[in-house]
């Protein structure tokens, strides 16, 4: 295969998958289906622009600004778009607010639906069979895998993303953070806390 490739790199260190993807890119470019430069922009976007820091800013604002939190609860898509996050795999957003009484956890048992504009690309475990199989039946066991133990009285609510609605968990704000700026608050918000497999940094649990 490498001899027929139009480029002239040494392919000796490339695996089967690298060659397959390279062949695909070449053929699809030659056929005019794709703009090769668009591939680089797509990769760059999800590496540097669209990731869980977006969601952390949403959560921090919800913690700091009660009016924004109410908007988020009423119309998450619009509230999140007001911060500049919208579009692909986040067209229809719902925010789930954790409380001392209820902990929310998000899964997609049928594939890997995930709110990309606010969380970026899903982590491997989110797409994995163990998470998808166990989250709806044994969420406390899954939480234990993440080192999280919730009080027995806490209701656990699992949301299986089976349609095009995408869910963002708003974790509880840790105690003792009253004086922090939104930027400092955002640093407490982990990706996992916005899926429900974690808590915000500094939370007591």
């Amino acid at each position: 295969m490498s001899h027929e490739h139009p480029h002239h790199e040494d392919h000796s260190e490339l695996g089967e998958m690298d060659l397959r993807v390279r062949a695909l890119e070449t053929v699809l470019s030659q056929k005019g289906y794709i703009d090769p430069a668009a591939l680089d922009v797509l990769i760059e976007t999800y590496q540097t622009k669209i990731g869980p820091r977006n969601g952390a800013r949403v959560v921090a604002k919800a913690w700091a600004d009660p009016a924004f939190a109410q908007w988020l609860e009423r119309d998450a898509t619009a509230a999140i778009a007001s911060l500049g996050y919208s579009g692909r795999q986040g067209e229809h957003m719902v925010a789930l607010f954790n409380t001392p009484q209820r902990h929310n956890l998000v899964v997609c048992t049928l594939c890997s639906c995930y709110p990309w504009p606010v969380l970026g690309l899903p982590p491997t475990w989110y797409k994995s069979a163990p998470y998808r199989a166990r989250a709806v039946k044994d969420p406390r066991g899954v939480l234990a895998d993440f080192g999280v133990t919730l009080p027995e009285a806490t209701e656990i609510r699992v949301w299986d993303s089976t349609a095009e609605v995408r869910y963002l968990v708003i974790p509880e704000r840790p105690a003792g953070t009253e004086g922090l700026s939104e930027e400092q608050l955002a640093d407490l918000v982990t990706r996992d806390s916005m899926i429900g497999t974690g808590l915000a940094r500094g939370s007591a649990a």
Binding site: H5, K31, A38, E91, T124, A129, A133, E164
Partner: protein, 224 residues
């Protein structure tokens, strides 16, 4: 039955621990960034819809053996092959051997940010009133359809309560079959864990799915 999904994993036994992963760890193999980008760029040509692409992925015979980006790539090749856009000898040769089948649109690099920010909304105007309201007791259909569907196996034939009404959305079942969008009312339906898992239910657990109206009947027996 001719349609078999290998992706309906909710509640399936025998799976081990979930392995957490640091936040910045995006890729695990060198080919993955391009696999992602090729999938998104070809999706943007409008040659298939998202439900057709999910159907292509979940019916891959070796789904359970593949990593996620391998699933994406295999489904991408399958979707293109079905449309005559790509032929196996071209993949082997690493170059075009057959004339292209024109695509509706090509995603230019400069158009990527706007295309991602726009996305593809699935909500549509309502043409009929919603059959259910928040608080209504419903029962999901028990039959297993012979096509792509988004009612998970663990939630078939179960009694739950409507918790949210999401508006009218493109119906995955018809869209995946190429039968058009046929938009339907979409609801969040919550089930008590005991309704899903019987004696194995964890205390205090409820599970919600998003279910289109055709998946649901009114539950004459009242609230579960």
């Amino acid at each position: 039955m001719t349609y078999t999904t290998h992706a309906d994993l909710g509640g399936q036994p025998g799976y081990g621990p979930v392995l957490p992963e640091p936040e910045g760890e995006l890729w695990h193999e060198a080919f993955e960034p391009k696999a992602l980008a090729l999938t998104l760029a070809m999706g943007a040509t409008g040659s298939w819809n998202i439900d057709q692409s999910r159907a292509a992925r979940e019916t891959l015979p070796d789904y359970a053996q593949l990593t996620y980006y391998r699933i994406w790539l295999a489904a991408l090749e399958k979707l293109m092959a079905e449309r005559g856009q790509l032929q196996p000898d071209e993949l082997a040769a690493g170059r075009m051997l057959h004339p292209p089948v024109p695509v509706k649109q090509v995603l230019a690099a400069a158009a990527v940010p706007a295309a991602l920010a726009r996305g593809s909304a699935t909500e549509r105007p309502a043409s009929a009133a919603a059959r259910f309201r928040v608080g209504d007791a419903v029962r999901t259909h028990i039959e297993i359809p012979d096509h792509h569907t988004r009612l998970p196996g663990y939630a078939r034939g179960r009694r739950g309560v409507v918790e949210r009404v999401h508006g009218v959305h493109v119906f995955a079942d018809s869209n995946a079959q190429g039968l058009g969008e046929q938009p339907q009312w979409l609801y969040s339906v919550a089930f008590d864990a005991s309704e899903l898992w019987g004696a194995d239910a964890q205390p205090g657990l409820k599970v919600a799915i998003d279910a289109w109206e055709p998946y649901l009947d009114a539950d004459a027996g009242g609230r579960p």
